[in-house]
Symmetry: D2
Subunit: 292 residues, 4 copies
Amino acid sequence: MPMTPPNGKTAILLLHSPLRQGIAASLTEFIYEHGGHIVGHDQHVDPENQLYFSRVEWSMEGFGIAEDDLAEVFEHRLARPYQMTWQLHFSDEVYRMAIFVSRASHCFFDILSRHQSGEWNVEIPLVISNHPDLEPAAHRAGIDFHCLPIGPDNKQAQEVKQLALLEEKGVDFIVLARYMQILSGAFISHYVNRIINIHHSFLPAFKGARPYHAAHARGVKLVGATAHYVTEELDDGPIIEQGITRITHTNSIDDLIRKGRDVERLTLARAIWCHIQRRIIVSNGRTVVFSD
Amino acid sequence: MPMTPPNGKTAILLLHSPLRQGIAASLTEFIYEHGGHIVGHDQHVDPENQLYFSRVEWSMEGFGIAEDDLAEVFEHRLARPYQMTWQLHFSDEVYRMAIFVSRASHCFFDILSRHQSGEWNVEIPLVISNHPDLEPAAHRAGIDFHCLPIGPDNKQAQEVKQLALLEEKGVDFIVLARYMQILSGAFISHYVNRIINIHHSFLPAFKGARPYHAAHARGVKLVGATAHYVTEELDDGPIIEQGITRITHTNSIDDLIRKGRDVERLTLARAIWCHIQRRIIVSNGRTVVFSD
Amino acid sequence: MPMTPPNGKTAILLLHSPLRQGIAASLTEFIYEHGGHIVGHDQHVDPENQLYFSRVEWSMEGFGIAEDDLAEVFEHRLARPYQMTWQLHFSDEVYRMAIFVSRASHCFFDILSRHQSGEWNVEIPLVISNHPDLEPAAHRAGIDFHCLPIGPDNKQAQEVKQLALLEEKGVDFIVLARYMQILSGAFISHYVNRIINIHHSFLPAFKGARPYHAAHARGVKLVGATAHYVTEELDDGPIIEQGITRITHTNSIDDLIRKGRDVERLTLARAIWCHIQRRIIVSNGRTVVFSD
Amino acid sequence: MPMTPPNGKTAILLLHSPLRQGIAASLTEFIYEHGGHIVGHDQHVDPENQLYFSRVEWSMEGFGIAEDDLAEVFEHRLARPYQMTWQLHFSDEVYRMAIFVSRASHCFFDILSRHQSGEWNVEIPLVISNHPDLEPAAHRAGIDFHCLPIGPDNKQAQEVKQLALLEEKGVDFIVLARYMQILSGAFISHYVNRIINIHHSFLPAFKGARPYHAAHARGVKLVGATAHYVTEELDDGPIIEQGITRITHTNSIDDLIRKGRDVERLTLARAIWCHIQRRIIVSNGRTVVFSD
């Protein structure tokens, strides 16, 4: 529920907890009693698992708790009593996104376009690839590019380098823009629910390699794409967004690849948008997306 | 926000009002303090017009205000102070729907199918038509059918008969299932925001008669349908739902009509569903649809 | 390519064959030289498998080969030399469709509605079910209904009865309108590419039982339906049509089932339309659908 | 009907003419008798206006008519007798596209991305704008940029300069990528059916300025975009492609603008693809698009 366009800085609280009567009222009262003006409040209840989810955004102008104290006060006053899992963000924090690519450029270029046109409030300090092909494009966009090829024996060593670069650049989340390598569990553990992958099928159909070939062989009438957070189990992480497009018997595998590119671009862009807007909560392998 | 599946009877409050800080909290507190258990709460704020919209549903089991007193108490305690426009419903009230038809049967049959399969919690006591064609189908479904032909001179007289029938059958709302007559303002005034029409174009394109012919002539690549509440201005009422389907240069006008039928059926059915679920609020010529 | 609206009786030839240069010209010349006026000609070439597919429709008015001789002449003149697999239909043949149902009524009622409104040129002489629930609805529609319950031990015997009924009623093809029994290979062999099933997922995702439950557990953002010809391998037959609808985290399993019903209805109806229009050719486990 | 992937150079013939029996056969015979191997043949018949449309593509390898003579031979042998309107293209001709922009960058960047990733076989020698804002982006992409501001008095003079630049750069067609100026009839006459505009509504709804504002005011549940060839009548040219996306009551005008951008990008890109693939024929204010 968007309420008013925020003026100045806002706080955004994403949380979930066991469902208890009055939890929503306690949450809004906490904000009101300190003079906060709520500019957006989305809620969801999962009746099956008796869980409460909320995204609440309020103006920090005149709010009675200092920004630096807010986390501690909230933890004490609400999070602990209600057993909340929560994140606190402020609207002037700009996420720093790293992009991992291989050779395919369409998602990468689409991300750069949106970034360049100011569509997203995000910084892109780093591109990592296992191939050198997209280095010129990264440099044209003024972004550091590191080529770290992955062979049969060096994956662990290269991931150590990747992690060091991510650390150095202060990266908040990673987008795998058709990056054709599987990340290790150890790597993923540093960025849980902060690595977004685009898979070129409507999962759970056609997991793994060459989904357009498999789709063509099966004779489906739709092809799709799935943006999801990466987990150790391949193509099995929490789904953020999915899209499809219609195909017919006239379409070759190359046509599927071509038509699929538009679905991939758009599905990934929507997922990134929701992530940087702090609209996603992950719970039990699924997402709550307070989309707009 | 659906909270828990309701056990037993629930109250459903649909309201809108000028936006005031704390209005949401006042609303939920009113329910809690009388022992109500909220099972669903959807809200919307229109920042441009500074309006607040809400649909709240709570269990009447153990609720401290008797059903018969609730409207009066609510009016006194909340509606008047907050200048709310509101409706109160109870989950055991079953809406009574009249269907107006002409000759085209596809929307009519679709409605009967959904009714018969138990998809909708609604009663259909009355079908009115300006043609006799669909009488047998109405009778097979066990529904009263009245043929009231409209000529150049008898419209007012026939509308009087229609209103008498609607009154007699205790009709709550009317569905124009491709009824090819224009209702007078006088008639509409008895059922404001309670007459749903399906127009066979994506309004505001192709208002009026023969939209598929106009769409074909213009060479559009999409045809659509619009379900809206009827107002005196033709095809200009608040839009509840719209749908489209793709067409190509190979499609004749007859193909458009055929393909459009599926969009009409589905768009109308979705609008009816939202209406009988009490999910629609009309304000300033537009709808807030708390859809699921 | 629809050419002109056919006047009077037309012949429809569906064929596929190895691709040979000039095959299309030979086909159209065969029709022209006997005075046939082509009213529609769709073609497809599968370059990968070097196959040619065609659907050609021409007016029988003044055509120089008698209807009864046409198949033999065509076989001799074209089909044998070009190794064609083919079917010949005439526009005045009306397909006879049997419907198999269980308890769910939504697809069944949708089919009856379309039949009743004259949307399809088809006869429905027979409904077979393993439950008695839908007998009254079949009778209201004037269709014979046979209840043949399937238990652990009687499947073969019941299929013998089913086949006898289908034979007796002169059934051309069968629609499984959410029929919850698996047909044996022996049964299917009598109606190869003439049994259309609707599965309530976007295959190959969520094969088998309870796909909406599986979709909900996986947290997908789309649910779908697939109409396909039945083969011995469950949910693995040639796909005719697929549809999807968007869902969100707010939707329960019941919501998925409800929203999915509309996709199932529509997807099945489109598949039936293409089948009765003789627009589908099956080859190598996939379909060529000359859709309109 | 794509037949085989072309090896080497192909000829592409786009034509339409009055419908005459045997016209398709004459066309394919003409190609066969000179040793041409057809790699794709799409046809359409407009029965209402008795028109025949065709796109045929064949390999020039071993073809018995020299490339330079082909147009003349075809004109003499087929085009004149059948009164065909036609265009002849060869697959090694690369279209040269000019882009007109104003300040909005999303369509412009999307075009550059697709060009850069090799998705389109097209050259972009020229960008013209009435504002200087996008000059740096054009230069980064290595494309000439000319700023020609349009005021109340200089439109005709600036169009003369535009035409000179287009001529100088050998431009084949123009894309108005959210160019916010109206072209004069005189200008358009130089590029009939060769100027593609993207309008940010599903035409004919919301012609003219500020369609998202109008859509929001009307309360529609869908917003769309339309790619069309530019004619003198504003927003009234032959429609090539249309797309839509769903919106709800929660969406502000800014949300519509944001969501609409994705529809604009994609709809324009599809139209450009069809144009450079020589898949579009214009007739009577409508398009035949042999899309894939």
